[in-house]
Symmetry: D2
Subunit: 479 residues, 4 copies
């Protein structure tokens, strides 16, 4: 949440607790009264920490019932937002350290469970243990759910914690608690699929531009082009954060599987007829809320969108992505060290265009060429690189594994988990700076073939088997 | 859910998984395939139980990702609804007994926690323990959240379990698990307040008539009268059960605190001017979903409604209930056994109108009179009973306690917890059959005085102190 | 508008001119000031008429611009509603007589048109003439369009005028002016088709019950049955009267063309599967607003509904009505006077069951039997009457004509104009009191065969040719 | 409508007559059949005109009832949009000349009216005359109301006619007919006020940018600034053209009457608190639909917006405009010819800063200075011009009259008619190119003082008296 938005939040909490204000002014006042010396100072010195601790305890003790508890939680949120970074860290540390589970209580419950004589006692002991394992800070954070914008408040706090990159176990445990709480609230049952069009609100579209993470949106006319008649855009929303998209996908309706992102994004290209299209290309999927990291919506989004498209446009036969290969160059660089990337003929071809190279290691030469900002504009160079890079890319996608056995490339892992297969590699599919830097200009299509999804998913999940079209499989085998 | 509604559910699950059907037919088919001998038999004999167990395991193992899991859950729901009562009991028993927590795993986690060397290990062990304490059946039930009407399905299953009155610990534990799950989903942050008027849908109004639990609605014209210009009706809804009210309250806008329910419900009474009213009388609050027993919305509803009314009608000064005293006659009967209910003068007055009574115990005579169906129509009798019954009623409300120390009367306990005070007793406030049977015709006003709510609530919560108007306090002290 | 609704209107005009009130209090006040002696007396004596005339003139002279004019119109409406019947008649007479077109001005314009020298002069003269032909009362009435509920106010005034049955030419001219104005506002382009279901508002459903004009709705459960899964109900609404249906149609989804209204309305009948139905039966069409008499929506409604049904339920093949024959018995009675209704064999059969009849005129005997309230319950009588009545009914529908040449039966005329054909006669299709009284128990299906509509419509419109199935045509020819 | 939008219209008519298509394919086909040689050629040669005439007659003769007529009208619209400019002119000429009123029929009706013997005959004759005065083309155009986008189609056609500037009486009469028809449909009773915010659809906001006619919107961030928390924007819409604003107004919420447009439009200015503002400044009012020229919504819009603001923000005390004076420079130039603009002292001051001028006529020198693009940046020049220009501007606004007696300045005339007064002149209130070119940099506030509106309006309407603050009146009197 930006500073200005935070200021808005301050007002909105005050204002809409106004939905509880008329009657419960006293509660709010007494909630405020806890910090009776007035608002805490921005960097939250020790004596303000003490007052804040009291305020948090107050929030937990159930005085004033549900309604009172929520008013107190709003007051806590207000306090937080008025703090500077130092104050905020102290606030979170207080929450993390002083409101953790009570180790003794947990141990006692474990003991009681061990001694349980029958099913009834065991059930009771388990219940008690579960309760003891719920940190007071979780109870406290939960109260934000009922506040206007309270859910967004928590999501933003977790985003801050993650962004801080802190290795402090207390902070990590707090972020974990938040994750569990949010995972509950953001169960896919609550998600609402909305189609986004040029008729959507400007405020929402502005957010889309900010959140787009794959192919940056250049401005309103670029965005309008991505929402034209031959495009579709869908997002998930949550009822408690109705103005904030969680994740969105951009789709182009075309004929045949598209291989070039620039063609898709060309604003001067003629508009296709969606009714005549046979293929839906998912060319951009962006998560919008960093605070929801680790809570996954993408698989569900893709499948809901496939359903929506299938029912709107019965002629569609293919559902495929046009995706970057973000780890490809990094992998190339690592592999080059152990050598043996290029076949003899490939190495020779490269050296033919680099006669004056003083390093005769072809693999390193390859990396060197890729480092040049303009290699792609030299058609001869591009022609020479085409074959080895596509081959290596196929190998990367199909064979490179993380320690856990999953595909090394994160985008590949995502789509393979969802049951797609590696369909086709596209030479010079993305020659933007980012596309060259990460993917050496190559793009890949992952194909969601509806009657193979289950089997692909299963094979990948259980044996890490990567499904791929035979052409890609052959390419990966060349040696 | 009625049988017909259940049948509708069957279709709707099939139909709207249709929202996932186009693409995921295979998953649904394989989900069904588990019971490959076709649908299970209605009473679920042992071999069908075995197949069902496999189906449930399948549902848990994560095959097919989130989407597959939900399709399998829908199939389980479908299976359940096709069973007869015997089959249903077996289904639930299977769930309760075979999908409980793994005691060994829990014990192991307890051990690991004991041995944890530092904060990081402790946090990890706690996380593991929390996971082990989540019964597989809970994971399974959670998947219903994403199904259309899946939440209602769970609510209805819990209602069935509660209605069965089973003392079986397995069933009680299952009902408890459901309660916890539902409490999470029905957090007050998700509740939506809706005003209900004669412009609401007939389908909803029909449900209101069915759910009204305090003063039965006699038909459409009675209902229309309760929704007229000088009335308000509000209900809470949940986004996952949009057609089902959770709880609703009926309010009359009047001048001065109303003491007679028949006046309020009189369809021929003139319609008051809501803008001129100074008092809002909450005369009926009904919970609609038995399956949500133990998850409380009433306090929050009343306070949200007070806010809504205060902002619509700035002239309102009083917010009070007109409530039954459901435990009064039961308490009278019990107290009569130990004697000493009536003061001497009261006893004499009663005996004066009952000269031929062969039992000369005035307390018992009092009970006897109250048992007559028509005592209320005899004005002399009514006049004689008035004073002692009001006095005893005051004592009942202010002094009678449950073992836990809370007010014995459940309605009193509810409003006292919310911070209201006992304001006034109303003689012959409800002379309906039910009103006479439970409350001896007396009604009571609980008054929500906004600036005393917090203090009243606190005093009752911590010391079981019952707030009451001085007139009622005096009455209770007469002896 | 009922009295209570009128009172509501008074308030609403005051209240919602409130939408213009904050700022324009003065205008409203001065508008009221015209009747400075306070509100007019209920029977509007002469001096109040004079004041009212001034008020109307004020309304016309454009002072205060559009906004002022509307405020004055609201004040006029308010005045009207406070009058008693005498006062109301005087109000309308004043409007009709004193605010008619100016005959001299019209004559002058006619003269100017005659003398026009060229196209430009002619166009100007025509414009002037058109203006002169617009009665001031029309300008005045037009201002009601901008008032909340102003359109309904005019519709209700026209309904009053029509209901009065006055032959006074001034009133008839006023009613005509209203018709023209309303016809403009209620152009079919403005009509909004809404499906009505059990989820519609109770307030709307209550109106439906009141407005149903063909087969009376017996109460809420009858209505619910008519809105069940195998039924459809559609109505037209107007944006300026959003709470008032203009016309609605009830449709049953069945297999084969239905012939019996009691079967359709039977609440205990099982609910059919709408997806499996091949036939849509339009069994009731009711106009709701008497004040819109002469402005026809029926044809457009039927065709819009056919479209809506065709797109929802692609299996539908037949669109037909099940209709009463309201003029049949009246026609029978008239024809009986000239004799020759019954064929010899038919006459004999009737006399066989009426041996003791002292009138030996079989036609009159037939009428006599039909006058008996219970003939339909005697199966022998019913059997004897079946053949001659169906034969005569066919003749009535196909051959009986009004002076203008159109079909004598009004319902037949409506559907024939729309392009339907007479499909089938149904013996004892409606044995309700009304059905026997008007239609001798017979019902008829009009069939909308989509590819014949245009030709049928044209043939009926130009040559009064009645389209009919061959079986009905044969029946009509028997002699 | 742009060409692309027109193409869209073609499809939409075809497509959404689809709302009538399933069933009425035949009608549409036969409608098309009229031009059986296929679509007409783009320039509509004579034989295609003949076919088109037949098609129009067909549209009028009522064949196929309302539904058929509308389908034929859609076909006509489709034909029109496929024509080139020559073809379109021929199409409109055909409509204008061949479907005018029948002069003989009108004359005959005039005669019949003259001979009418009594009220009944007179009423009938008037009705007939009215009918005869309705040109067939009007009947034809009216059928567009029921078409999707049909109303917009007519509005755009009238815009074309006006834009052509044709003096052809036939075209002018056609445009007049359209005006009358549209004035009926766009009665203020049908207008819907909508607030426009950053949450409005991007498609709508894009139109706003295109339609803004007073202070051009520079892009999305300029627009966003104009919709911020201390701004309001309202527009009127019509139910038959829901995506098209008719007129909109931009309002700034400030303290005190604002005098400088650049301050208001400054994107870097801090955002004010709307709740604290005492003044609403209407700084831009734009009509959006040229085809609705001569149908006035502005007065009604301002007053509805004043009401909306007054009810949202009770602290507002002033409602004033900040307006250009578009005719000021033009008037100055004309007046300069007769001389005597400047007072002696003013002339001297100007000559003092223009020593080398070879023309010694001070009035012409003044005009010369104003013609310099950069005079405003020279503070000495600006200081010298200030006094005389404000004085002359006051005289222009208060005294300059058109032949009809109304204020010469069109914006002044608009606000004076609405009852506002000339409140204050603002030196260098608008120094944009346009502001200097039209208004010599001066802006004016028109003040809507609610309790003087009626009197001001009346005085201006009846006597052309211009209301003004005394300071402005004094300024205008200086000589």
């Amino acid at each position: 949440m930006s500073d200005r938005a935070s200021a808005g939040f301050l007002d909105s909490v005050l204002d809409r607790v106004g939905s509880l204000r008329t009657a419960w002014r006293d509660i709010a006042a007494s909630a405020r009264g806890v910090l009776s010396g007035g608002a805490p100072r921005p960097d939250l010195p020790d004596d303000d920490v003490a007052k804040l601790r009291a305020q948090m305890l107050n929030c937990l003790d159930g005085r004033g019932g549900e309604v009172g508890a929520r008013a107190r939680a709003a007051e806590l949120g207000r306090t937080y937002l008025a703090l500077n970074p130092t104050g905020r860290e102290r606030f979170l540390r207080l929450l993390a350290e002083d409101f953790d589970t009570d180790a003794d209580a947990v141990a006692a419950c474990c003991g009681r469970l061990t001694r349980a004589a029958d099913a009834v006692e065991r059930a009771a002991a388990q219940r008690a243990l579960r309760a003891a394992l719920t940190a007071p800070r979780v109870t406290l954070l939960r109260q934000f759910n009922a506040l206007p914008e309270g859910v967004k408040f928590l999501v933003d706090r977790r985003a801050e914690l993650l962004a801080s990159g802190s290795k402090d176990p207390a902070f990590q445990a707090l972020a974990d608690d938040m994750r569990e709480l949010l995972a509950n609230w953001f169960d896919i049952g609550f998600l609402q699929l909305q189609r986004i069009t040029w008729d959507s609100s400007a405020a929402l579209l502005e957010k889309l531009m900010a959140y787009e993470a794959v192919h940056e949106i250049q401005g309103w006319s670029d965005l309008k082009n991505r929402l034209d008649a031959d495009r579709r855009c869908f997002a998930f929303f949550h009822p408690r954060m109705p103005d904030e998209p969680l994740i969105f996908v951009e789709v182009a309706l075309v004929n045949g599987i598209a291989g070039n992102i620039h063609t898709l994004l060309d604003q001067s290209a003629p508009i296709g007829d969606p009714q005549a299209a046979d293929t839906a290309i998912f060319y951009s999927i962006s998560n919008c809320q960093r605070g929801l990291n680790g809570i996954s919506f993408g698989d569900f989004l893709i499948k809901r969108v496939v359903d929506a498209l299938a029912s709107e446009l019965p002629r569609l036969k293919n559902y495929a992505t046009l995706s970057p290969i973000p780890g490809f160059r990094r992998w190339l660089a690592r592999e080059a060290e152990s050598g043996g990337l290029l076949l003899a003929a490939e190495a020779k071809a490269i050296q033919a265009i680099l006669p004056e190279a003083d390093d005769d290691n072809a693999d390193r030469q390859l990396l060197g060429v890729l480092d040049r900002p303009d290699w792609v504009e030299d058609s001869r160079t591009a022609a020479v690189l085409r074959e080895p890079l596509l081959r290596l890319c196929a190998r990367y996608l199909l064979q490179a594994r993380a320690a856990s056995g999953r595909a090394l490339d994160p985008v590949a892992h995502f789509h393979l988990t969802n049951g797609a297969r590696v369909e086709r590699l596209n030479w010079l599919g993305d020659v933007s700076v980012k596309g060259l830097q990460q993917s050496a200009g190559v793009m890949v299509n992952y194909n969601y073939r509806l009657d193979h999804i289950e089997a692909n998913h299963e094979a990948y999940r259980s044996e890490h088997k990567v499904a791929a079209a035979s052409a890609v499989r052959s390419l990966a085998r060349v040696s």
